[in-house]
Symmetry: D2
Subunit: 305 residues, 4 copies
């Protein structure tokens, strides 16, 4: 249950079986500084290439295929006074016939007030001068090494996590990933100061963070997709295109979760989900889209055993 | 600004250019009793056929193509002690390989407590005995006659509204529909006592309501898609398959709304939407899926004249 | 078995329950002149509005819901020396990021040589001067009135046919449509001199034809989707978005066809289809896409009964 | 220009940066024996695990990122008297509501007559006793290492090729892959004796082959997607879900090909493609679907330069 500070010296643009740079025990807490999506650190120094560089993996002692890696996001402290976004909605989120009307795609700067925990455009266009948003930090890209010796670009996501860009992956949330290799090989990066649903400009407000996570092992908890829990909700994640398929993955996983852990029959799970489920769009920008199927805990049955 | 009670004697299974059965003035309020999705009324009498019978149209005097019909949902009072749903998640919302594990598709009864404003299964399956849900009434199917002399089944939806099954279409919400024919020809039906996102069992809790709506005309407010406003939010609707395309329609409409009515440039609309937008899944069961692109009012610029 | 010439005086932009303008008997042959997709006739006179005007319906005596209307396309004779297309691939058939590189969307003229049965651009862009294509006439939009009192724009298609834009709907092909109303109410229009798969510029070479069709009734042949037969193949049609769903409809229909009419079990139909099926893309431009699932007759079992 | 026989001792279930087991020169021809999709060799011995094991990579001397690897499929000789398929259409190619009617998914044997070059079911179900099909060999899975250090399961496909299951990848076809790493790292496997469009039972007739390919380097021929050429056609490949997106990738690539290599403007490419293009469905079974955009050579302009 130790508290560590891990200072990476290598970053990767994929989640895969990279050599780990840090080892920890089941239940340890790790503090780590992240780079922004372009690989720039808190001091403005370029340390790695895009897309979405993540730390060389953390090896969690004792994690084995068939386990789940439990990641409690304890804290995300912004470490830079600026973030950036792109101008213009992404071409794939608007009608094809409207794409020609989009503004040129340029990088713009947001100022981050680390005392007030707010952010605003450095040079707002006419009509947006009023806009100051509260920070709502989240992790854009994190996960473990995928199965079968695969390695996936940090531009996308899959069963092992990755670039899901879901705004509920912030402080206070616990996430479980399916472990496919010994040690799990956990990495993270691509922090956002705030992001709307869908990451529809292709970015949240991209900046650097000091992130504190507690890493523990749920032995033998076979998962297919990432799952999460907040103070109020539980949720299952699906990553795929089209969005319909991401929704199918997340819905199926939630049904299986309710049956396996909450003692419901298939019919019971259907009745409950049908009337109380909520869907959240993670991202509709990346190669794989992300959909969360979420249920408020207040409607859940008592957990079986 | 009169208050009317309209007692329909005809119902239709399409939104189209049916002969109107009631005429009202711009700004009038109308109280109407709805049938459930199978055409059964509050007394258990079958009055019309499925799918989703809606009243013979209301003709709003003065509504012309190019206007918007503004529908304020003032009240939805449940008028029956029971509602019904289907058992089993819809085949199209789970992974194809998991469909064989679904329970048989049967109709089940929910008891509606009209004093406590709650509902529960008449015969809950094991493990769901605890479940009593608050009522959260909403209109499943409503809209106006479509353009070009078309007529669409009430099983689906399009630019003119229809079977959108979006849970924010309840009391306190104002909706605008694009008027395509003189008088707009407004109809409604398919009330739900409560429904989760997506209508993923193919139904909300289907029952009958006394619904009070105020109907007024927004002259010359050319719309492509339905739009809405709640106490806290504005939203644009897209209806299409796949869900990706519904999202594109809704997102494009919101962008155009922000530019036209809130004085933002295309770049300004993008910056705002990118960091504050929320997506709600209306339905992922009907032939056309429904996605809402929603923005909290607190982040909107002051409305341009 | 009479031969008629039907000269329409009304055209419609929807397939729906319009008043028929011509009545014929089961087995009659009808010759009819079509307008082009913009409603212009063979003499260059504008006779109707777009999209895709079709003749006021033909009522086939004796056709009843549950029957199929059999349409043998006997002849398509081009009746004009010119056709037209649009410049530029449709925005929905290329990558969103490539849309900005498309040329402006303009109408261009093709010259049709009715002796040689060829066509070429009137003013070919540099590098295309060589291109002279053989005519390969096809019907873009045809079908019967849909079920449930619906009416669909001729821009799109559904179970009743419509704007399918499938290049095998030409002379020598027989098509069956599911009859939903007495008399079937058959209409056609939108002839193309030639068209590639997908109608990816949004048009074939749009022109006028004299079309000869034989109309007969297949009593009680309950269909869900249009089916067709050429000299070499049989095929089932699916109309929907996305293309995946159109493919699912067509594939399911072919499986059911093989089971019902060719005496195969579900397993037998699967074995056959798995190794010999061909898919043709009808259109990927219209609101509903069209996919054909096709099987060469040489691989079919002897027809049952 | 040597002729080699390469006898692999390692196989992989991904395309990635595996250590090469064979090196050859630009222009060499290589003969290689393939395993079937389950890793069984021509003698019935299990040599590798599924899915779709491919040989440890061939390193082509001189191939560099930015080049294309040209693969001429010279010969595919079946090396076993049996192949296998699954019973039952895949769940994702039929309507969700029809899935419950599918037969149980079992492996069945086809007999391969290597003299007559035909194949038939060992135990045909009733009604299929007549069915003997000609062999039409094709490579299901082949390609090069992907970019960015990624590695993808042989169950799927991407820009670097993979499990495309396109029936035109047979003898007489030339394919170009985008080279992302030095030596290209070419592998192949998953041969099919014949396969219908879409691989809709999840398999072609899976068997083993002796395959002869000529491997050469097209220096500096930057590609995004695989391209191919047969005696009659050229084609571009897109791999993605949904099928609509695979089609967009293939169509965009063909447009770019016509502009870059055939001297057409964007408008010229559109005119040509619009009227002559053909789409072939590769697979609609694997995680990424495959669509080919194909143009008959007879309609192409003379190649520029």
């Amino acid at each position: 249950m130790a508290l560590h500070r891990f200072v990476p010296t290598r970053w990767h643009n994929t989640l895969g079986q990279h050599e780990p740079e840090f080892h920890c025990q089941d239940g340890d807490t790790v503090i780590i500084d992240t780079l922004d999506a372009f690989g720039v650190d808190k001091d403005g120094i370029s340390r790695a290439s895009s897309p979405n560089p993540v730390n060389a993996p953390i090896f969690i002692e004792g994690a084995e295929p068939g386990d789940a890696l439990c990641v409690e996001i304890l804290r995300m402290t912004p470490t830079r006074g600026t973030g950036w976004t792109f101008t213009g909605l992404a071409a794939n989120v608007i009608d094809p016939g409207a794409i020609a009307s989009l503004p040129p795609r340029e990088m713009v700067t947001w100022l981050i007030d680390r005392q007030m925990l707010t952010t605003r455009l450095e040079n707002p266009p006419a009509g947006l001068e009023y806009l100051t948003l509260p920070l709502d930090p989240m992790i854009g890209c994190f996960g473990v090494a995928p199965a079968l010796g695969q390695a996936f670009s940090n531009a996308t996501s899959a069963e092992n996590g990755g670039n899901m860009d879901y705004r509920r992956f912030g402080p206070g949330t616990t996430v479980w990933f399916p472990v496919a290799v010994p040690g799990a090989l956990f990495s993270l990066g691509d922090g956002h100061a705030i992001q709307g649903d869908g990451e529809i400009v292709g970015t949240g407000i991209e900046t650097t963070f000091e992130i504190e996570v507690r890493l523990s092992i749920a032995k033998g908890r076979k998962l297919v997709w990432p799952r999460g829990e907040t103070a109020d909700d539980i949720f299952s994640i699906g990553n795929a295109r089209p969005l319909d398929q991401a929704l199918q993955h997340a819905t199926t996983d939630m049904m299986n979760w309710l049956i396996a852990d909450y003692g419901l029959s298939s019919a019971g799970a259907s009745h409950l989900m049908g009337q109380v489920v909520r869907y959240d769009v993670g991202n509709v920008f990346d190669p794989a889209y992300t959909m969360a199927c979420r249920i408020p805990k207040k409607w859940l049955p008592p957990k079986a055993v």
